[in-house]
Structure formats: C-alpha cells, structure tokens
C-alpha cells in the first residue's frame, strides 16, 4: 500500500516532536506519499526530520514522493543544498503516479 502522511501549517522548531512522530513508516507501506502541499512555512528542523525519514524509508526499500507547493519551502530545500536528496512534486496526482510506477500498482 501507499502510506500517506499529510501535514499543514508552519513546520518549525516548535513542532519537532510532532514531525518525528508523524514521520513513521507503517509496517505494510510499500511507498510513502508525503503531502506537504498545505505547509505555509518550513525551517531546517523540517528538513532534518525529512532526511531522517527518507533514510528510514530507503532502508525499508519504500520510495517517497513529497508534495510541496509553498515557494518558501521549495527555496529552503535549494538553499540547504538538498534539491537532489528528495523526490519533490508540485501536485499530488503527479506524486501518486510516480509512486504507482515504482510499486506496480
């Protein structure tokens, strides 16, 4: 199955614990859709937790697609030098197609 994790609002230091709890891989997940399309602001705390989760998913051989819409968030990824570390999409349908191709669903 494709596990979906959806977060919204401002992802900053004050939500570090919540991010770590949310970024948990289900035992039956074959792929993960991280829908962050309603995130309005993100900081390096979010990037660190995203990296941690991506490493976890890579170990489990589960591809991750991240949906980001906010220009601030997209530029943050660039500034941190992580543009190639994540598979980022601008809209959900595109991300789901990418994951479906990789899971054979």
């Amino acid at each position: 199955m494709i596990q979906t994790i959806r977060l919204a609002g401002e992802l900053d230091l004050s939500r570090k614990r919540e991010l770590r709890d949310a970024f948990a891989l289900s035992s039956d997940a074959r792929a993960v859709l991280l829908d962050l399309s309603e995130v309005l602001y993100a900081d390096s705390t979010a990037l660190t937790e995203l990296l941690r989760f991506c490493a976890m998913a890579q170990t489990a051989n589960a591809p991750i697609a991240i949906v980001i819409a906010a220009p601030q968030f997209l530029r943050l990824v660039q500034y941190a030098g992580l543009a190639t570390a994540f598979k980022i999409f601008h809209e959900r349908g595109e991300a789901l197609r990418y994951l479906s191709e990789r899971t054979g669903n």
Partner: protein, 133 residues
C-alpha cells in the same frame, strides 16, 4: 524612506520563535518587501532565532533569565537583522543532525557577521525592497 526599527526580546524558548518571525514579516511587509525577498529574509531570521532558542542556552541555570533578541533596522536602503543571545552560537557541520541553519542563512543574506564576545550576535544584511515607480 527614513529609518525604521523593530526590536523584540522574548525568552529563549522554541515557542518564542514563530511570534518573533511573524512580527518581523509584518515589519518587512510594512516596508514594502514582498515575494521571494520577503520569504527569504523571514527564513534566514527564522533559522537564526531557532538556533538561538534551541542551542544558545545549553548551559543555562535556573537563576539566569535566558532571552533571545531580534533587532531589524532599515536605513539608507539597506536592511540589517540581528539575532542575539546570552549563550554561544553553535556553528555545526550540516550532517547528520540539525545544522542546515547557517548554510541557509549564508545562501540568503548578502553579508553575515557572527560575534561571540558578549554572548552571541548574528548580523545579516539584505538589500532593500525594489520599490515600484
């Protein structure tokens, strides 16, 4: 446009970061910053504030009040944003933990100065907004 200034001091706690960041954004909007410049300056300041709140008071004691202060000043077409604390600013390598903050700040600010003589102060300089004629 003359000189404008915003000065805020709050306890160095994680929950102080967002209100200071939002106040800075409102200040910048009033100065006619917009679009990516508005986002980027807010992002850089947010990283400095988060770093201060998370790390600056690692050695704090119960008797000592721990604050973080932001001073934004717009003068002669240039914006400076300073974030200061009474602890020590931590410059870390980007991996594996939280350490992207300084990298992000350096990518955004036109100039950055870090002073550690009396507590720590990070000063970022940015060009003024492009005013529509």
């Amino acid at each position: 446009m003359g000189r404008s200034e915003l000065r805020l001091r709050r306890p160095a706690q994680t929950r102080s970061v967002a209100p200071i960041r939002r106040a800075l954004r409102a200040f910048l909007e009033a100065l006619a910053f917009e679009g990516s410049a508005l986002d980027d300056i807010t992002t850089a300041a947010g990283e400095a504030l988060a770093n201060a709140a998370e790390h600056a008071y690692a050695q704090k004691t119960k008797r000592r009040r721990c604050d973080v202060e932001l001073l934004a000043r717009f003068e002669r077409g240039e914006l400076s944003v300073e974030v200061s604390d009474g602890g020590c600013f931590i410059e870390r390598s980007p991996l594996p933990g939280r350490g992207f903050g300084l990298r992000i700040i350096r990518a955004i600010a036109h100039q950055i100065q870090i002073e550690t003589s009396h507590g720590t102060r990070i000063r970022m300089l940015f060009p003024g907004p492009l005013l529509k004629s």
